[in-house]
């Protein structure tokens, strides 16, 4: 709405808001004495844990951008220089089998996508399995078959691996870790820190399918809906986009924490504002309905085959066309823009016509009581 007049908050309220912004910018401090489930949810608690423990311990310039994949300069024996992308991801999903996929294709696609959104061509994967004593071999065969098919579809090979078995009760059936390397073409340097005011923000399709599928597949809710995980390899979609649009600044796959978390990472890393329009964000009715019933916001729900793209505003239509040209991007949409203000904040224009903040969640979205 362009004909709105901005009324400043009252002086004292503004002072409080400024003070909060200063507090938010301070280095996060890990206060808990033990790990809680919130530390694994991808929200503020996860960010704090990573910065306070892992970044603190391993700090180096390759790690510091905290992108989905690290960009590593390598030099071949004959002296030629190249850049490879390296990433790793662990999969602990429960249930192991769900509509639209299983932990196996998830483990391949997740790592393939982390490479793809770095702009790399995924090439080789490792696979590590932690298996619980008593786990059915038939299930493991099925999982490995899915991994094989997913790898073939993504054009990658699983070239090394590891297997460990733990006593019954020490794990939940099967956990998988995958790592992947990919080749980065010269000149490709994507990163959320490069977003600048005027850029457009796109998503490649309806959001929240995977997370809602998993919540329903756990069978705790007694809700049934015709919804499937969106797990899919995004490398082809990304290659199409990068080939057609020179002004792509950043790509992220919207996994844990959902699209809202990505938008916040853009706003913080680039020190810009992000404004999205609720109406423009594609969400399937089944997903919206389930989310409404549970009192959670699809913006925070995980996807496994969707990316968020930041592109030069002048090339937004081009980018949309490039995404829509691929079956995985058929329902892509421009959902918002990068703004100069308010710094570090994501705001949404609601369908209702109001405005609100979209902040990082602390942990998993908690269902509301009533």
């Amino acid at each position: 709405m362009t004909n709105q007049r901005v009324l400043p908050a009252t002086g004292r309220e503004q002072q409080v808001l400024d003070r909060i912004e200063r507090a938010r910018r301070r280095r996060p401090k890990l206060r808990e004495e033990r790990i809680t489930m919130a530390h694994g949810a991808g929200g503020k608690a996860t960010h704090t844990l990573i910065e306070a423990i892992f970044l603190d311990a391993f700090r180096n310039p390759l790690l510091e951008p905290l992108e989905d994949a690290a960009r590593l300069p390598v030099q071949g024996g004959t002296g030629e220089r190249a850049t490879v992308a390296l990433t790793t991801d662990s999969f602990v999903v429960s249930p192991l089998f769900f509509p639209g996929g299983n932990i196996g294709d998830l483990a391949v696609n997740g790592t393939v996508n982390d490479l793809a959104v770095a702009g790399a061509t995924p090439m080789y994967l490792s696979a590590g399995f932690i298996l619980e004593e008593g786990f059915p071999v038939a299930d493991l065969t099925r999982i490995a078959g899915s991994m094989r098919d997913a790898a073939a579809a993504a054009g990658v090979a699983v070239v090394t691996g590891d297997t460990k078995v733990v006593e019954k009760g020490k794990a939940d059936g099967c956990y998988i870790n995958t790592a992947g390397v990919g080749a980065l073409a010269a000149g490709v340097n994507l990163g959320v820190a490069q977003a600048r005011p005027g850029d457009a923000i796109l998503v490649s399709g309806p959001i929240g399918d995977h997370g809602v599928t998993i919540m329903l597949a756990r069978g705790e809710l007694d809700i049934e809906a015709d919804v499937e995980s969106d797990t899919a390899p995004l490398a082809e979609l990304v290659a199409g986009l990068l080939g057609a649009v020179p002004g792509v600044r950043a790509l992220r796959d919207a996994t844990r924490g959902g699209v809202a978390t990505i938008l916040n990472e853009i706003a913080k890393a680039a020190d810009v504002g992000v404004l999205v329009t609720e109406d423009a964000i594609p969400v399937r009715d089944e997903v919206r309905g389930a989310a409404e019933l549970l009192g959670i916001d699809p913006l925070y729900v995980a996807c496994e085959g969707r990316l968020v793209a930041v592109v030069d505003g002048g090339q937004a239509a081009q980018a949309l066309a490039a995404l829509r040209a691929h079956p995985l991007g058929a329902q892509a949409a421009i959902i918002g823009e990068v703004t100069a203000e308010p710094l570090g904040l994501v705001t949404i224009k609601t369908t209702f016509g109001g405005t609100r903040i979209v902040d990082l969640l602390v942990g998993d979205p908690l269902p509301r009581i009533c």
Binding site: E13, I20, A23, G353, R356, I357
Partner: protein, 380 residues
């Protein structure tokens, strides 16, 4: 999507905003309290205040079920969950409410087994699946959730489930509203009445507010247009000098409530002589406990419960926020010491809590719609 989109229609909202603005008397300020935390959540989530003129202030009331749970009861629950072979079940938003030594999530990290459930009935499934464990449901909420607790107890008895109990913390809404009306430091012009509670208790219990205190009440639904329409109905009453109880949410709320649900509560629970509310202190006859006939399901009788009263942290001004005396941002620790990551007070925990709603959604310069500012522009 049906039943959602029609209640979020921006065009209708603009029309209502114009009507609301037209009812504002120049120079008069209006304070309306939305009693229910669900309303607070809707107001912030949809940016509803953008549609209101500056002369209308929404005051966030005490109807957030987790926000009114005192720290001592959280400690009691964790102590219960720490006893051998206990599985505790709880609603999701209770998991992060801080006690004096952390919240349920922290207790789980130390070894308790507190599981999130979506319905108290899920506790019975867990009890049946774990016959060697004792399952205790952390029952919280107003008359909205009390019937489902009651039904769970009735079903447990009918099915002969003996390893299930309820740690009852249900509260009742009317005494809380009365406490607010009697509080000397608060001036309110009207109430947006709680919708979900009213599906159970109906609209009659609010009549004393209109009659004895002369304040209009409009029972409201939870979609943004519901709330905007309720504000319009309140403003209309105020402009006509009426104070009545009206039902905006008639598609769900029967005037006389739900007799079956009320009967289930009455069968299994009775009023406590008094109960402590976070920030509001002790309020007499404001909470429920299990009846003696259901003592075999009463966790407070079956288990050792310390029952130690824990004073609210000194810096915390949840009470003033719950009474609507302070806006969330006016609290001394808001947004600095008290944030959703490190909540000091319960108002910062639940998405329905006024502070969490304001922190997560509302920290913005408001951009009012033209209809809402026209009145200010037209004034000299």
């Amino acid at each position: 999507m049906r039943f959602v989109d029609e209640f979020r229609d921006a065009e209708k909202a603009h029309a209502l905003a114009a009507r609301i603005a037209a009812l504002c008397e120049p120079g008069r300020h209006y304070k309306l309290m939305e009693v229910c935390g669900g309303h607070t959540h809707t107001i912030y989530k949809h940016g509803l205040e953008d549609y209101l003129p500056e002369s209308i202030t929404l005051v966030h009331g005490p109807g957030c079920p987790v926000c009114v749970i005192p720290m001592g009861r959280v400690d009691d629950a964790i102590s219960l969950a720490s006893q051998p072979d206990v599985i505790m079940t709880s609603f999701g938003d209770m998991m992060r409410v801080p006690g004096s030594n952390g919240a349920f999530f922290d207790a789980n990290a130390r070894g308790t087994n507190i599981k999130m459930v979506y319905s108290p009935l899920d506790s019975l499934k867990i009890a049946k699946a774990n016959p060697d464990k004792r399952v205790v449901f952390m029952a919280i909420g107003f008359e909205t959730t009390a019937p489902s607790t009651a039904m769970t107890v009735l079903r447990a008895r009918a099915q002969g489930i003996t390893n299930f109990a309820v740690f009852c913390n249900h509260v009742t809404i009317i005494p809380a509203i009365k406490a607010i009306l009697d509080s000397p430091d608060l001036r309110l012009d009207g109430f947006i009445g709680p919708g979900h509670v009213s599906t159970v208790i109906g609209c009659r219990p609010y009549e004393f507010i209109a009659r004895s205190y002369g304040k209009p009440v409009v029972v409201a639904g939870f979609e943004p247009l519901d709330i905007l329409q309720s504000i319009y109905m309140l403003m209309l009453q105020l402009s006509e000098g009426r104070s009545e109880v009206e039902n905006q949410y008639s598609r769900v709320v029967p005037w006389d409530g739900n007799p079956v649900a009320l009967k289930a509560i009455g069968e299994t629970m009775e009023l406590r002589p008094y109960f402590e509310w976070r920030g509001l202190g002790f309020i007499s006859h404001s909470a429920l406990k299990m009846r003696e006939a259901y003592a075999d399901f009463d966790a407070e009788l079956l288990f050792e419960v310390p029952g130690v009263r824990v004073a609210d942290p000194k810096a915390c001004q949840c009470g003033e926020v719950l009474k609507g005396v302070l806006k969330p941002w006016e609290c001394k620790v808001f947004g600095t010491a008290c944030t959703p990551e490190t909540p000091i007070g319960t108002c910062m925990v639940s998405p329905e809590g006024a502070c969490a709603a304001y922190y997560n959604y509302g920290r913005l310069n408001r951009q009012r719609v033209p209809e809402a500012i026209s009145i200010e522009l037209s004034r000299p």
